[in-house]
Amino acid sequence: MKLPIYLDNHATTRMDPRVLDAMLPYFTELYGNAASRNHEFGWAAEVAVDKARKQIADLIGATPKEIIFTSGATESNNLAIKGVAEMYAEKGNHIITAATEHKAVLDTCKKLEKGGCRVTYLPLKADGLIDLDMLRESITDKTILVTIMYANNEIGVIQPIAEIGKICRERGVLFHTDAVQAAGKIPVDVNKDNIDIMSITGHKLYGPKGVGALYVRRKGPRVQITAQMDGGGHERGMRSGTLNVPGIVGLGEACELARKEMPEESKRMAFLRDKLRAKLEAGLDEVFINGSMEHRLPGNLNMSFLYVEGESLLMGINDVAVSSGSACTSATLEPSYVLKALGLGDDLAHSSIRFGIGRFSTEEEIDYVADKLVDVVSKLRELSPLYEMVKEGIDLSTVQWAAH
């Protein structure tokens, strides 16, 4: 076993060596521009791009023409939401999203609010799921778009996407989903799930960074979005710019591998995840699972280790790469807004760790991480005045803290 151990697969994934092999020729001999229609270099690139389009479409039940290449999911989300807001401005100006979305969605919505759109940020239930009745009630005749992520990047909670899509379809509202964490990990089908627009990115499914895609439905309904960059009119006019051929080839290959290996792989990841959870729960008291366990990505575990602060915990497991919802570990010095949206107190958010198990995780690694965590949490609890008070029978919620 090699240290450090990588268990942060929601942040990014290691590229699969098979993906790299597929990409390499397009950096060297096959360097054509896919838009060059009059020579062999261009044709070779175009063939490669078309193949990738099909590989991506096959993973999500789409047709190749519905795939628009982008630089990643941040761009895909921006293009989808701003593009719809602009295209359908005459129909309405209301967008519905949820409080636990990725910043690429939330900040895009905030920007649109400044430009006169109205945005509803749906709260979440304690288990991280949205309330479908609340969604229904929020839709008005001015609503043009609902954007709700498929699976959350912190707690791995999977939303009832097919039902959300059905509600939108019934009400004649477009439905966009950020499927970055779900695509390639669990079955995603744009038709069964009633999805109109969907964002994915290469680097979360063992593909390269800096390349993503946007699925844009062509039939029932035919979705139109206004381009957000002006230029050569590539990608059916929705996204100009010379295509990143090696990246696109990598994204395509990654999607094909994910499609073929998903049944086996998701079982293996769920086994490892459940083992990690069981070992942590056997070795420690006062641990708390954040978000629904039932509706969750197979590779995700998000746990709070009560009375231990997240950054000090990360320090103790410095040969394990995970992330924490603690304020100390975030750039903004605020605890995770996702955990707060579930109604967790800041104290639970400060004590949380996100584990992201991936394709290359091994059972030996999981055993090592579990043992190490039990050890470090126990040590830090010896140091924790909160744990001591709780063990003395003091209810912490009744304490008057000399807050800073």
Binding site: Y307, V308, E309, E311, S312, M315, G316, S326, A327, C328, T329, L333, P335, G345, D346, D347, H350, E382, L383, S384, P385, L386, Y387, E388, L396, W401, A402, A403, H404
Partner: protein, 143 residues
């Protein structure tokens, strides 16, 4: 975040972890911070009745590595000092000793506050125990 060697040393080998009898008259307890803010420090001192010197100090801290290191260092510095000398420990001394980056300065402030709170608790108890002993003393004098 990269930690200084001294922060790592205190984190890996925290000094003076534990608790003193908070009911004892010569023990002062300071608890500062709040769980929602991500730091709570408990710092205790035991003062020698005769010499007025802090003969033991203990801490427990919920917080990041720098908070743990700041309080661990504080207990080291407190031992052997008089209460008045202890009051002169400044958060900037802790920042310098541990090479804390700007985002971690609040950890040192918290440690200074914990020292002050522990001393204040100790002094309050002393006043209370002196006045409680007064009638007894008077009685002895009369006898």
């Amino acid at each position: 975040m990269a930690y200084s060697d001294k922060v790592l040393d205190h984190y890996n080998n925290p000094r003076n972890v534990g608790s003193l009898d908070k009911k004892a008259a010569n023990v002062g307890t300071g608890m500062v911070g709040a769980p929602e803010c991500g730091d709570v420090m408990k710092l205790q001192i035991r003062v020698n009745d005769e010499s007025g010197i802090i003969e033991d100090a203990k801490f427990k801290t919920f917080g990041c590595g720098s908070a743990i290191a700041s309080s661990s260092l504080a207990t080291e510095w407190l031992k052997g000092k008089t209460v008045d000398e202890a009051l002169r420990i400044k958060n900037t001394d802790i920042v310098n000793e541990l090479a804390l980056p700007p985002v971690k300065i609040h950890c040192s402030v918290l440690a200074e506050d914990a020292i002050k709170a522990a001393i204040s608790d100790y002094r309050t108890k002393q006043v209370a125990s002196v006045s409680a002993k007064q009638p007894e003393l008077v009685g002895q004098l009369v006898a």
